[in-house]
């Protein structure tokens, strides 16, 4: 393992790899810093372009985009009280008051250092835990993997935004979309509606660009006159961090990192939850909880460390089982697959050297984010107020090329358009497009494991309950559904009795 780690760091310090990371952090940071643009959108739009790159250029670039995007969301949150990404909502609770009091630079630097530390520590953890975890994953049979993926999808569907029923409907829609094209067993084409291009089903990238990038752009077009960004961006940066501040942010960073790494391992929970949990825990355990909300540096450091540590934790289920914890990881999973790295139990066995290179890249990318981020803070702060009127057309051109570039196909371009329009309405009516995207991505794998499990057991369905691991995950899925039904009706009764009273 140590040999692989050393070789991995050697690969990570190649000039082309470093340049890719820098470019990724800049691109991701820019997307994260623009209100209305998200790290998910950045990943969706930029992932097609990595398909033309070597793995050790494309993946570092995407990892840079991911890191830059999550960190970048804190900038508008702190400066103008508008979070650049959902993950930054908790940061602005204390970040914006700090900026208003003349400590914008302190808040921004604290956010950067916390992002760097959270990401670095969770990446180190992932690097050392992956190999033993992969050995555990190898014990999973087809039935266990089916139940694990099924339970993960059910958890995603039931805890996602909107009602659990819409979450389950989103799961159904995603699985149906995954079924379009040739089935993995007999090669029979399903729901192709006569289109030759659908024989292999929809390609993941145009669907993701449509659902996460173009739909957001369409939403931004509708609301472009509503985005009244304050012009009173903090121009008095104030002082930077002193020794006392650096000592003060260590405990919240450590706590936030632990919380974020654990949250990252649970599917569907994601950065916003980790950020709020990190903030809440820090507030409860701090000596001066009454000061939170007025502009304390710990209130910035804790959520930023937590939401960046999620990035590391989310890689664990993704790499060991091929289950993305959130949409951004799902896009990363797609990129891995196209680069010939199929995440799952055999990844560390078949591609150990490549994987340790990627872990090393992830760690080096943290330092790149720290350096590049420090340089970019002021330019990005100035760009926060660029009117959407100028940004949106360029983004549309980017989305267009992203959909076309994958297979040089205009069919994919129209796929992007279709899913953009559908994605907008699904979000408007509180369906979870993240669940749709992930169940679309995992649907064929789920079906493949189902078929394998039934083939091995000669058609005996009891294999799913006689294997203890499989049974445990099915119980989790059933528990999630039952508790969601219970709480749905309990909350409904509360609301309706409140309305009647």
């Amino acid at each position: 393992m140590w040999e692989y780690i050393i070789n991995g760091f050697a690969a990570a310090f190649q000039p082309a790899t470093l340049l890719a990371m820098v470019a990724g952090v800049i691109a991701g940071g820019w997307f994260g810093a623009m209100p209305g643009l998200t790290a998910t959108m950045a990943m969706a739009i930029l992932v097609p372009f990595t398909y033309f790159m070597e793995p050790l250029i494309g993946i570092p670039f995407l990892l840079g985009v991911y890191k830059g995007g999550i960190w970048g969301g804190s900038i508008p949150g702190i400066l103008i009280n508008v979070p650049g990404t959902g993950a930054a909502v908790a940061t602005l609770i204390d970040g914006y008051p700090m900026a208003k009091s003349g400590f914008a630079k302190k808040a921004l630097l604290a956010a950067l250092i916390a992002s760097f530390s959270g990401e670095l520590l969770s990446s180190l953890w992932v690097m050392f835990i992956m190999e033993p975890l992969s050995r555990v994953a190898l014990l999973f049979g087809a039935a266990d993997l089916f139940s694990l993926i099924f339970a993960s999808l059910v958890v995603m569907a039931t805890v996602s935004e909107g009602t659990f029923i819409k979450g389950l409907a989103s799961l159904g829609i995603g699985l149906w979309l995954a079924g379009i094209g040739m089935d993995p067993t007999l090669g029979v084409s399903r729901f192709d509606f006569g289109f030759l291009q659908l024989i292999e089903g929809f390609h993941f990238v145009p669907v993701v660009i449509g659902l996460f990038a173009f739909s957001e752009v369409l939403g931004a077009v509708i609301n472009r006159k509503n985005i009244a960004l304050s012009k009173s961006i903090a121009t008095d940066w104030g002082p930077g961090l002193n020794k006392k501040d650096l000592i003060a942010i260590v405990p919240p960073i450590l706590k936030g990192t632990v919380i974020g790494t654990i949250i990252g391992m649970i599917p569907a929970v994601g950065q916003p939850v980790a950020a709020f949990l990190g903030y809440g825990v820090e507030k409860k355990t701090n000596r001066h909880p009454e000061k939170f909300g007025t502009g304390v540096i710990e209130g910035v450091a804790a959520p930023e460390a937590a939401n960046n540590a999620v990035n590391g934790g989310a890689l664990i289920p993704m790499l060991t089982f091929g289950i993305p914890g959130d949409v951004v990881t799902a896009v990363l999973l797609g990129a891995f697959i196209v680069q010939g790295l199929r995440p799952g139990p055999f990844l560390m066995v078949e591609h150990a050297e490549m994987m340790y290179s990627i872990f090393a890249v992830k760690i080096v990318a943290c330092f790149v984010m720290l350096i590049v981020g420090r340089i970019l803070i002021e330019p990005l702060a100035k760009m926060v107020l660029i009117p959407r009127t100028y940004l949106l057309p360029v983004l549309i051109a980017f989305c267009f090329v992203g959909t076309f570039a994958i297979q040089n196909s205009m069919f994919d371009v129209f796929t992007g358009l279709l899913f953009g329009v559908i994605g907008f309405y699904l979000k408007k009516y509180k369906f979870n497009v993240g669940t749709i995207a992930i169940s679309f991505l995992l649907g064929k794998v789920l079906e493949k494991y189902l078929f394998q499990a039934l083939s091995i057991s000669h058609g005996d369905w009891s294999v799913f309950i006689t294997r203890p691991i499989s049974l445990a995950f099915l119980i989790i899925a059933l528990t999630m559904i039952i508790t969601s039904v219970f709480y749905h009706f309990k909350n409904k009764a509360k609301i309706e009795s409140g309305a009647a009273g």
């Binding site: 819409k166 159904g172 699985l175 077009v221 509708i222 009127t389 267009f400 040089n408």
Partner: protein, 170 residues
């Protein structure tokens, strides 16, 4: 009459409309499933026939969507809060812009095929900048030229993406 009243109610109750759309979608897909998912035939069909065949997953997912749609519909009908007020559309929301943008994407796709990437991109950017309210034509032209050049350098020169027509003109 029942259909007319149901449709009237749908337009007043959003959740009912959503449920109805989901239910109809799933029902239609289930009805056309025998035509869209042919039976496996021949010896491979017999050999590979396991309890979960190639129709299992589509049927399962569509039944899930159908059940959820019906559930949402029933909740919408029996909602004790009465007829929902339609969300007031803000005067600053531009739904027309939504459809113009979507249509522009489609027109852009055809233009790229028949005219070429660079000219089509320049026309798209210019049109959208104007439509979204960027008033200064000089600024729009500068942004269009700059953005088109940037996109050309990245996608055509660096990534060498093969667009359907020649990249510049015809």
């Amino acid at each position: 009459m029942f259909l007319k009243n149901t449709l009237k109610l749908c337009f007043k109750k959003t959740e009912l409309m959503i449920g109805l759309c989901l239910t109809v979608f799933a029902a239609v897909m289930l009805l056309i499933l025998p035509y869209q998912v042919p039976e496996a035939s021949g010896k491979w069909g017999v050999i590979m026939a396991v309890p979960a065949g190639h129709r299992f997953f589509p049927i399962l997912s569509l039944i899930l969507v159908l059940i959820c749609g019906l559930f949402i519909m029933i909740e919408g009908i029996y909602s004790k809060n009465g007829i929902e007020k339609k969300e007031e559309k803000k005067s600053t929301e531009d739904y027309k812009g939504f459809w113009v943008t979507a249509a522009s994407w489609a027109v852009y796709a055809f233009m790229v095929i028949y005219i070429g990437y660079v000219v089509s991109t320049a026309l798209l950017l210019l049109f959208l900048l104007w439509y979204y309210g960027a008033k200064s034509m000089v600024k729009n032209l500068i942004i269009t030229a700059g953005a088109t050049l940037f996109l050309y350098v990245i996608f055509v020169m660096v990534m060498k993406l093969p667009f359907p027509r020649d990249t510049i003109l015809f």
